[in-house]
């Protein structure tokens, strides 16, 4: 039996909520901000659900709203710089583990990046979007994605907590 637009939206939001909150967290470093961003994005998607469905890629639509809303809030309130190095505070309870240092170092390195470079890293290397998809999501050119990614990787390379092997893997195998 087919489902109506409302049921489709419900299923879509429940299915994609974790990914959008994680994206918001990657961009802001704060769960509260991340949930706000994700909820605002889904609300806007619901307000135009007919058009969003017709566009054929609701995931990209919501993702773009999360990113744009983050950029807008960053411009206004600089909340993006609240990315916290202490993963445990935001991530809930965790056990001490050697890998945790790497995660902290990674988030520290991300925090050191500017918002656009951070967004490029998150979209390009975490969400695994192509350069063109990243450019579309960030409303910039593919050339800008390339240059921002190059600078971001150079910064990460200089970061003590990021292994050279990681960067080499990304640079050699990450281009689509």
């Amino acid at each position: 039996m087919s489902t109506g637009p409302d049921e489709e939206f419900d299923a879509f939001m429940r299915g994609r909520w974790p990914a959008m909150v994680r994206l918001g967290y990657a961009l802001t470093g704060d769960v509260g901000h991340a949930e706000d961003l994700a909820q605002a994005a889904f609300a806007r998607a619901y307000a135009s659900w007919g058009r969003v469905r017709r566009a054929g890629d609701p995931d990209a639509y919501v993702r773009r709203i999360v990113i744009n809303e983050h950029r807008r809030r960053f411009r206004k309130h600089r909340v993006a710089e609240e990315l916290r190095g202490d993963l445990g505070d935001a991530a809930g309870g965790h056990q001490e583990h050697p890998a945790l240092d790497d995660r902290r170092a990674l988030l520290d390195a991300l925090r050191a990046l500017g918002p656009r470079q951070r967004a490029v890293v998150v979209l390009r290397y975490w969400l695994d979007l192509s350069e063109a998809e990243t450019a579309a999501a960030l409303n910039c050119s593919v050339g800008t994605v390339k240059s921002q990614a190059s600078r971001a990787l150079a910064t990460l390379r200089k970061s003590a907590g990021i292994r050279d092997g990681d960067i080499a893997h990304i640079v050699e195998g990450g281009q689509r």
């Binding site: 039996m1 087919s2 109506g4 939001m13 889904f42 969003v52 993963l87 991530a91 890998a99 975490w126």
Partner: protein
């Protein structure tokens, strides 16, 4: 997966967060929709109030900029000041071989009473909220500008006109006070004359944005539109040929444009009949068919009109299911029957069947039937008055004849 991606993934998967607040997001989404609807009304009220307080603003609003070459000055008319309308191409337009063009996307400007407005089309691209779809913005001028969100352009607009007709219009944006129309014009249209029910007229020149020609105007909803005449020939040459659209008007609902008729062609006869009714598993409903110069329009009622669909054809003389869907709180379908068809049995996606009996409306036979929530028609079988099967088809076949 790269090492960095893996590490990011691991780190981000440790983040804990609340369950998806679906209902809260939907409530917020509804508020956004409601704000879109009332935004224009707020603009109207604010401009009216400001114009009362600042006569200079009212004078400024009442004086449109000088028209472009060949463009008529709206004739003064003895209409109540709040009902007087004007529209002209946006000041940013330039003359190009294919007609007026706008690089900024702004296509038209004008006034309703003391309120001034501008309308711009945002073509598909990076500036558009949905990159694949064009949309349009409405700006109300009040000292500074009040710009609303980018509204949908229907699929028939912004992608060229698939049928041989001079224009396709959006559904009107209905804020209860004013209505906005955005339309796409064919390449051979020179200009349009919009005639309102009180006799006021607007002459509209199409403006090209991203290879598509648009027109737009704004008017009080209560004004009503009598007809729109397209003058044909080319961007700068009027051949004298015309095509006329008479919209279907429902009270308090924006006019719906269906049929375009060349000059001299007889209009379909006017007739109105109820073609289906019931109360199966829900509130009482009925579908009324209106035939006339607009083509054929199907209006669904459930304690008031809940939906109107028009078919731009002067005569529907084949058996076909023309439309179906949810017009909350009713789920129904409707169609046309070939001459001699006395009953149509419709097969639904849930395996059930429902039988409808065509009703004569003007010079055609039409029917309506209930479906059910989430249920769609998949096929039909037609019978004559003796019960003999005279045709069958599926919804995928569209207008298969018996």
């Amino acid at each position: 997966m790269s090492d960095l991606e893996e590490e990011l993934d691991r780190a981000l998967r440790t983040v804990t967060f609340a369950e998806a607040p679906v209902e809260r997001a939907k409530r917020a989404g509804r508020r956004i929709r409601a704000r879109r609807r009332v935004a224009l009304l707020v603009g109207v009220l604010a401009v009216t109030a400001a114009a009362v307080g600042y006569p200079a603003l009212a004078r400024s609003a009442a004086a449109p900029p000088a028209p472009l070459t060949g463009q008529p000055t709206p004739a003064p008319s003895p209409h109540p000041s709040d009902m007087a309308v004007s529209a002209y191409p946006a000041s940013a337009t330039t003359q190009a071989p294919a007609g007026l063009a706008s690089k900024t996307g702004e296509i038209a400007a004008g006034s309703v009473g003391d309120m001034r407005w501008r309308i711009a089309v945002i073509p598909p691209g990076k500036k558009n909220p949905v990159p694949a779809d064009p949309c349009y913005t409405i700006t109300i001028v009040l000292g500074g500008d009040i710009q609303g969100p980018c509204y949908d352009l229907p699929a028939t607009l912004g992608r060229g006109l698939g049928e041989a007709k001079p224009a396709a219009f959006t559904e009107f944006l209905n804020d209860g006070v004013t209505a906005t129309t955005v339309g796409e014009a064919a390449a051979d249209v020179t200009y349009f004359i919009v005639t309102f029910a009180d006799g006021q007229q607007l002459k509209l020149l199409p403006v090209t944005v991203a290879d598509h020609r648009y027109i737009a105007w704004m008017a009080p909803l209560s004004l009503g539109i009598g007809r729109v005449v397209a003058h044909l020939g080319g961007p700068y040459s009027d051949s004298g040929q015309t095509a006329t659209a008479v919209p279907f008007n429902e009270p308090d609902v924006p006019p719906v444009f269906g049929l375009w008729q060349p000059a001299g062609q007889a209009a379909p006869p006017r007739d109105t009949q109820v073609i289906g009714a019931g109360a199966t598993g829900g509130p009482p409903w009925k579908v009324t068919a209106y035939e006339g110069p607009w083509g054929t329009c199907f209006v669904t009622d459930a304690a008031g009109p809940v939906g109107a669909q028009c078919v731009a054809s002067p005569k529907l003389d084949t058996t076909a299911i023309l439309g179906w869907g949810d017009v909350s709180p009713v789920e129904r379908g409707f169609g046309s029957a070939a001459p001699g068809v006395a009953a149509v049995r419709i097969t639904l996606s849930n395996g059930k069947t429902v039988t409808a009996h065509p009703v004569g409306v003007g010079n055609q036979d039409l029917f309506a039937f209930p479906t059910g929530k989430g249920v769609t028609p998949t096929g039909w079988t037609a019978y004559d008055s003796t019960g003999r099967q005279v045709g069958a088809g599926t919804t995928a076949q569209g207008s298969a004849a018996p």
